[in-house]
Symmetry: C2
Subunit: 282 residues, 2 copies
């Protein structure tokens, strides 16, 4: 069994995979990345991204799509990958995350389809017209320690918040004090609590690690992700990231969340869109 891990950080430890057979990897879904009852979707995406990076000849995720089928639970899991095509600059593969139920049946949690390449081999031109988000400096943003007393924010487990160094733009944190802005926006500074620098894999976590825009839109209830597609466009520079998420189409019981991740060099390093269910209550 070849243990594949890149370091001692919590993220690397908890997204490590162990190759059991060609294309088959054992993993352990850590309880440390849960929010309320759910294993965080970005953590799962990063874990699948780790396995695919091992299975495919190209190292870096460029475009990754996950469909979230059933709720993952902390505990053992297996990832079964398939190589779809290998080319000179791109490879494509699929991955299935499976967990065994009490009767011994394998239940599929996620199905992923992704194309990988080599970010370091991309040409260096930048004609990005998008601009970094307007977010106050880190020191003026709100972290978990700034949250008001118990019971005002999120019920249930907040284990993932201990893994992250997340600082919310106060303009998108009104929900935490019962005063949501009504706008489909969420912005934050993002880092890992243990100081690990970002990399292409951790960006897969980053695109789904903020509170839902639904909180600012005053929606009660959870907003489960149906599908998420992330584009990793550049290796992130060391240092803190800025994440800006926008929702513009809440309708028919669904909403989209568009996320942009900017690094310390003002590069737009990742973009994602997810489709989530948003059941309006009352």
């Amino acid at each position: 069994m070849a243990l594949v891990t890149l370091g001692n950080s919590e993220f690397d430890r908890d997204t490590a995979v162990s190759r059991r057979a060609p294309g088959v990897y054992d993993a352990h879904l850590s309880a440390g990345w849960t929010i309320i009852q759910a294993v965080n979707g970005g953590y799962l995406l990063a874990l699948m991204g780790r396995a695919l990076g091992e299975a495919l000849p190209h190292p870096d995720p460029l475009s990754v799509t996950a469909h979230y089928l059933t709720a993952s639970v902390p505990g053992p899991a297996v990832i079964r990958t398939e190589v779809v095509r290998t080319g000179r600059t791109l490879s494509t593969g699929t991955a299935r995350l499976l967990q065994t139920d009490e009767d011994g049946n394998e239940i599929e949690r996620l199905r992923v389809l992704a194309s990988y390449g080599d970010l370091d081999a991309l040409p260096d031109d930048v004609r990005t017209t998008a601009k970094p988000p307007a977010i106050p400096p880190y020191e003026h943003c709100l972290g978990a320690d700034d949250a008001p007393g118990e019971g005002t924010a999120i019920p249930g487990s907040t284990a993932i918040t201990e893994r992250l160094d997340l600082r919310l733009d106060p303009a998108t944190a009104g929900w935490a004090v019962g005063a949501p802005s009504g706008k489909g926006e969420m912005r934050a500074w993002f880092g890992l609590a243990d100081g690990r620098d970002p990399d292409p894999l951790s960006l897969l976590l980053t695109v789904d690690a903020l509170p839902p825009t639904a909180f600012e839109m005053g929606l009660l209830g959870w907003v489960p992700t149906v599908e998420l597609t992330a584009h990793i466009r550049h290796r992130p520079a060391p240092g803190p990231l800025r994440v800006a998420i926008t929702t513009r189409n809440l309708a028919g019981g669904f909403l989209e969340e568009d996320a942009e991740v900017w690094d310390s060099q003002d590069r737009l390093v990742a973009q994602s869109r997810q489709l989530a269910r948003a059941v309006l209550q009352g």
Copy 2:
């Protein structure tokens, strides 16, 4: 063999599939939907969407991702589908588009992962904050007949343009007269030339049926799609559609195209993002 077609329109005829065995469908890639040398990606997506709609218990695409692996050619093809999961309101499946080469080997053209539901069963709430695009009235937009003489626009086949009733916003048509705006934008009125009304499947064509934003950004050369993810959010009303495409992150040899499709009732009926290769020349 059960022929599945919904009408006499060109779109329905050319996206028809014929069930050969459970989950296996024969199809014919029509030369009528080619641009330059390529079979249009939206046409291929719609064809795959047709097959998945047959294979899955839910009728309508909600989220569809395609990875474009090798270049499709007009002629026979087979679509092999897999049901990943069926739920009460959503089903998920995959589809492979395959064509046989001269040596009799099956070559995969597209790999698709999608979740389907029932658009007519969705609640009717609309809290969309996005606005329809600012595009001049249809009569003031430019159709194929308005194109200047030969040689100024697109070399090679323009067969698809005969299938579509496409009218470009003049502000995004400068490329056709050698005066690209420099902005990553493309907007048009969209219909099918034979008058067929839009439906959820034809929206899969619509999101990839306009000229590339790259033309307006002055990029030479083709801009092949690596991956495209479309969200179908509402059954479109009859009548013309408005399509607005934006590129904000041209960098590192790739660009994204974000498309929005608005129907005659000012509903945002579809959103998509594609990742395409953009090799800068000169």
